[in-house]
Amino acid sequence: MRFEWLAILALLAAVGVGFGRRRNFSPSWWLLALFLLVATALWAWWRDVRRRQSVQADAAFFASVPREGRPDGYVSSDHCQACHPGQYASWHRTFHRTMTQFAGSTSVVGNFDNVTLELAGQKYRLERLGDEFWVELDDSDSVTAARNPARRLGHAPRVKQRVGLVTGSHHLQVYWLPGKHGNLQTVLPFAWLIEDKRWVPFHQTFLRDPALPLQPSVWNLNCIQCHATGGQPRPDLQVKDWDTRSGELGIACEACHGPGEKHVAVNGSPGRRYASHYMDQGDPSITNPARLPSKIASQVCGQCHGIKWIPNREEWRREGFRFRPGQDLATTTPIVRPTKLDEQPWVKAAAMQNPTFLEDHYWSDGMVRVSGREYNGLLESPCHQRGELSCLSCHALHQSAPEDQLAPQMDGNGACLSCHGQFRTELVAHTHHLAGSPGSECYNCHMPHTTYGLLKAIRSHQIDSPSVPATQKTGRPNACNLCHLDQTLGWTAQHLATWYRQPMPELDAVEQNVSAAVVGLLKGDAGQRALIAFSMGWAPAKQAAGTQWLAPYLAQLLDDPYSAVRYIAQRSLKRLPDYQNFAYDFTGSAEHRATAPARALGLLTKAEGNRTLRSQPQLFIDTRGELQQDEIRALRQQRDNHSMDLQE
């Protein structure tokens, strides 16, 4: 750069001298030329200083964040683009790529426009300086922020930290700040809700008992497992120094295809490439999940979309995961399956260490209940156990829209009918619902929304059929009552017995007489309440069960102890007529929350006017169209208040 400017100045000077001598310029012209030259030189020098400062700042920034690039054959997606432009482009638009990124103008979606946030008496001022995003906060390592009494008293001096990494780009975005221990990244205690366009306390984005102590979130240990490719935490715990690195941030090509160094090297030869194109036998130098046997192919997804057991955590911290696509996942990081406890004695050991481990992830029958663990569901599905169903049966990573990444024709019944073709002509006879209606969608009955994560309910990936005994045993809402929100468990049992010859289970009075959704919403645990509240905002359920009666029940949840339940309830409530502009903040003060149900009911009374609720005893609406508050209160008093912390 400096040479470039010197050369330009020398040329200008030479031209000026030559021109001046020929024209015999006066001294004033020479002075002007000299001034211009000096001014240009000063400007060039100033630019050079700025550039050096920028280079130094970049160097300091990249020293403070986990490094990209690691040994063992990882080369990064940059090397894939030239030969696989289509695949690179289709990957580039996915949310996989943006799971973790360096903070910058193209990655940060949160509002950093001089925003001041406050949490537990501490202030965080967010600002943007060009392409850099900064947070001013109390000077203390973020890890100890919540536990350091000095900080609470406001004695800590203020410092500015540049945001290092961002995680997420779809539903919410989380920000990571460099600490004082190498490239350790600790969480900014606020997350940006993308759809709502607002900041919320990070810990309130989880379905977690508010009475539980806050746990410090560290990217280098938690997120790195699945939000980076080939991550290696590499802490030196003795001196508390971290030298974390990964093949690449985000879920990149090598996460699914394995390290690409050998593939890149051998395919430098055009002869080999053309032989490979014409033979069409695949390339042994790289893994292509589409060419793997279905069960091994699913393990490629399962390395992240499953609840893994890490047998040797010390080795993992040092080296990262040993699993590579195409290998048997069970040999390195087996999937925790509560249904196979006899074959997995270490699950019992884990449960001994953390008594809520199973409950934090699974329903009591072993079905996974948290999002992002779809492979666990697949493993327990008969279609996978006895058939060839794999993740790639329905999902396509390169020929799909970023949302859900479903393969073409797989967003409807085509996914199931490709194997269960006999139902193509017997659909109505099998479903007992009109063709084209939500009740005739295979997904709605066999993959209901019984998984929680990301402040919403997500479809279960364990393919099963509606079962009343399963609901009785586990508390998990069944597909029928997640749509027919106004019907009882007895109603469902009766239909399943008549239509599918399921045995009629024994039912108590509440199960016989009260809507299963109302029971789950009033009596259920926080996870069940979240699922029911979600369904109350789900269009097919509102179509099947009507909407007139929903507001009073959703209003009950506006004062729920769990922030995630409150969030889902207010979202469903605001989707009802007359509630779009209902003023409510799920992170608001206890007083704000306590008055919200009454305010919501008041709005209902005003909106209803002369209209009354239709008498529905199973919904506690009497013949006068009034809610039987005593009955509702009695059920609510039986609410399952046991402490929950769903580990999505």
């Binding site: 030239a82 030969c83 696989h84 432009p85 289509g86 695949q87 690179y88 482009a89 289709s90 055009p270 490439r273 053309y274 194109h277």
Partner: protein, 157 residues
């Protein structure tokens, strides 16, 4: 039409071939064909045709753009050759004939190879038609060398 027992490279044929005319004709036809290709490529952009513009078809786009550019420039090069052949009567007949044939081959092989290479692509690799390009490039090199030598000899004299 060539006579069966009188190949083009024989002294009799060399003497009768009108090289300036030949390359003037070839130049204009090359310009016509490859400028038409350019118009077609612009139309593909205009109508946003996926099989030409999608990222997965980047190789095709590159190949056909190269076919258009090389074909057009080779058309212009034929004009230059025509002028050179006209202005340099001292150019040895055998050398001039070889240079002419090489340029003729290059005018067909280079843009043709690029075009065929873009018809069938394998991710980042062009189709096998691309193999014609190095042959054409070698021919063009020979033609260029012979022309440069001929012009230099004239100057030296």
């Amino acid at each position: 039409m060539k006579k069966a027992n009188a190949p083009e490279s024989s002294p009799a044929t060399i003497a009768t071939v009108n090289y300036p005319q030949r390359h003037l004709r070839l130049g204009w036809w090359a310009l016509l064909v490859f400028l038409t290709l350019g118009i077609a490529l612009e139309a593909f952009h205009g109508f946003k045709l996926g099989w030409y513009l999608d990222v997965s078809n980047e190789t095709r786009r590159l190949m056909w753009t190269l076919a258009h550019a090389h074909g057009t420039l080779l058309g212009l090069l034929n004009f230059a050759f025509s002028l050179t052949a006209y202005l340099v009567p001292t150019w040895p007949a055998r050398s001039r004939s070889l240079a002419s044939n090489c340029l003729f081959a290059a005018t067909l092989l280079i843009p043709g190879g690029f075009f065929l290479g873009g018809v069938v692509c394998y991710a980042g690799d062009p189709g096998l038609g691309i193999l014609l390009v190095p042959l054409g490039a070698a021919s063009l090199f020979v033609a260029g060398f012979l022309a440069a030598r001929a012009v230099s000899i004239r100057k030296a004299r």
